[in-house]
Symmetry: C2
Subunit: 202 residues, 2 copies
């Protein structure tokens, strides 16, 4: 679906969070509640949801279940997504253990490393796999998304491997931007950007 | 300084990244380059920088050094900021070792944990401290910012401790939102939100 603005897409997961966590008995939610969840104003909410074809009812708000299902579908998470983690260092291990992902529809199905000392090690229910396998595993369709938790110098080579094997999306935690071919989505999480934004307000 | 929009503040670190990483010989930068760095259009850049009092020169762009210094000052990072990490598990350890923070003006000065087995352990140049000390250390002005890398259930109690001790800003990685009193800035990093946004594009 074309046409949602980047800002709208970035807010959808925050609306979804509220819609998933809301009391099971509540059937409607106000644009004000959704606005609070996303840190925007109610007019933004109405515009975002109108772009999805939803009009709220004055004094009532939006119906929870249809809106929740629609946002999930829009985000492509109406079925579960399979994620591989690359790098079994501290960050990769922390991500593999992060229970929030499973709750939100992402299954971490594999973790890879190059270090012979780490390969074969257990992390929760996963066993660290040799990075050499990743191209074959990705090409076989074992996962659609990858999280890079590798040193700066390894980020681009790993992104190249994954891109050539047909990966759909890459979330990059390495302190180094990566380039990917058209058709691969990439997001870069830069912790110092978060701290700098926080520094403005603090 | 009042009045910068949230979107503008969120883009300033990305402009700054380019201005810091640019070749030392280059004296000017175009709004197009800045737009590329922040993933917005040139009109956004001109509006953002105009809000800081900067007007570009047609065909030349913006002077690098004054703009860089101004953004640093705006973000409150013209002097270095001291950061404490709470939680010496995998995520806290990864953050303590993350070299990107030092490069961007943040000094990790302490890491705390409650686990007697971790307290006293070395992580790089730091020694894991007993969480019991954190209120006193914060009140003594040892750090202005804190990163929470604790389990969900510990996030609010730790935020309360830090707030009462006069913390300025909290970056929360725990999978649980925290409330803080007025005057304390908080940002919540939710990894599943990043994955959901990525899922839309991938």
């Amino acid at each position: 679906m074309p046409g949602l603005s980047r800002a709208t897409v970035a807010r959808l997961p925050r609306y979804l969070r509220l819609l998933e966590d809301i009391d099971a008995e509540r059937e409607t939610v106000s644009s004000g509640d959704l606005a609070g969840a996303a840190g925007v104003n109610a007019a933004n909410v109405r515009r975002d949801l109108s772009a999805l074809g939803f009009q709220g009812t004055r004094g009532v708000g939006y119906s929870v279940a249809p809106l929740r299902d629609r946002i999930r579908r829009e985000l492509g998470i109406d079925s579960r997504r399979r994620v591989a983690i690359v790098g079994a260092g501290n960050l990769g291990t922390a991500l593999a253990r992060y229970t929030g992902l499973g709750k939100r529809g992402f299954d971490v199905v594999a973790i890879y490393d190059v270090d012979p000392a780490r390969i074969g090690e257990r992390i929760g229910e996963l066993t660290v796999l040799d990075l050499e396998r990743i191209t074959a595993d990705c090409a076989a369709g074992n996962f659609e998304m990858a999280i890079l938790a590798v040193p700066a110098g390894a980020a681009q080579p790993v992104a190249d491997l994954l891109s050539s094997a047909g990966i759909s999306s890459i979330l990059n935690f390495a302190p180094q931007r990566v380039s990917v071919p058209d058709g691969v989505a990439v997001r870069h999480v830069d912790l110092s950007v978060e701290l700098q934004i926080l520094s403005y307000y603090g």
